[in-house]
């Protein structure tokens, strides 16, 4: 009975850890906030030149009610950002985020076998931009981007994504 209970508790703990990996903006990427969107998902070889392992982008045009909802989710992730090695570039205009680029929590794996240590750090960034739609001033063009890369920095990202 006791070993069974221990296994169940440990499995539950593992599930909890998995759940904490999710972002508040995850529901935006999952299409739960806005329906008419332009999204991209890339992993693997196409991203090598950017130094990334994962890239997701999401764009939409929404009224201010949905803009506020999305902004609130971004702010929640911003509050939970990596403060130990903080990287932030952000501007707020008239009480709303104009753009926000910040580092999220890192994921790290380390495994030592026979004296050799396999050590990797994946860093994550969230980028958000909200601009007034040029054709309809009551709507907002929102862009949301999630990036993941090994040993990534904001400077590297800006250099890799400079338009030529």
């Amino acid at each position: 009975m006791k070993p069974t209970l221990t296994i169940v508790l440990l499995l539950f703990a593992t599930l909890m850890l998995r759940a904490q990996e999710g972002l508040h903006v995850g529901e935006v990427f999952e299409g739960k906030v806005a329906k008419t969107t332009t999204e991209t998902t890339q992993t693997g070889e196409p991203l090598r030149k950017y130094g990334l392992t994962k890239l997701r982008t999401w764009k939409t045009t929404v009224p201010d009610s949905l803009r506020n909802k999305i902004e609130a989710l971004v702010n929640q992730d911003y509050e939970e950002r990596d403060r130990k090695e903080e990287e932030v570039d952000r501007e707020v205009r008239d009480g709303h985020i104009y753009y926000s680029i910040f580092r999220l929590g890192s994921r790290r794996t380390e495994l030592s076998i026979g004296g050799d240590t396999n050590f990797k750090v994946w860093r994550h960034y969230l980028c958000y931009q909200c601009k007034v739609n040029t054709e309809q001033r009551s709507l907002y063009d929102i862009t949301l981007v999630f990036l993941e890369g090994e040993n990534l920095t904001l400077d590297k990202l800006k250099k890799n994504f400079k338009r030529k």
Partner: protein
């Protein structure tokens, strides 16, 4: 064992209705040091054989529970190791699946899998935000220069 329980077993023994297990339990109880004289007499009646069997059974129980504790500790350690390895395999496995080449876009529910087009759309989105940041930072610097 409580006094009432001991006396109940003594009555059963004297009536000849006690089971062998009850006799062994009774024998352990009446052969303790701090018991009344009349109980010692019951111990003599039960005999050394019954006491010997009871003591042997007690030892076996003790060894079994000790073995159970060791087994439980090993099982917990093994469970922890399995869960840790599973977790490491899961997270490292995710990296393995992230190395798969995926390039896909959805525009209002329509799927596009043309890699170059997907890459261009994604690059455009990211560059847009970084350019906004650059312009905003440049404006700030201009303000300082004024």
């Amino acid at each position: 064992m409580k006094t009432e329980e001991t006396e109940r077993l003594i009555s059963k023994y004297l009536a000849g209705t006690a089971t062998p297990d009850e006799e062994r339990r009774l024998s352990l109880e009446v052969n303790r040091r701090d018991v009344p004289q009349e109980w010692r007499a019951i111990g003599v009646m039960l005999g050394e054989l019954t006491l010997g069997e009871a003591l042997y059974e007690q030892q076996v129980q003790h060894r079994r529970s000790h073995r159970r504790r060791i087994f439980a500790a090993c099982a917990m350690a093994a469970s922890l190791a399995c869960v840790s390895l599973a977790g490491w395999w899961y997270f490292d496995g995710r990296q393995a699946s992230d190395s798969e080449n995926i390039a896909i876009a959805h525009i209002d529910g329509h799927t596009i899998s043309d890699e170059s087009l997907v890459r261009a759309m994604a690059e455009d989105a990211v560059c847009d935000i970084f350019e906004t940041a650059d312009e905003a930072n440049a404006d700030e610097l201009d303000l300082f220069d004024m």
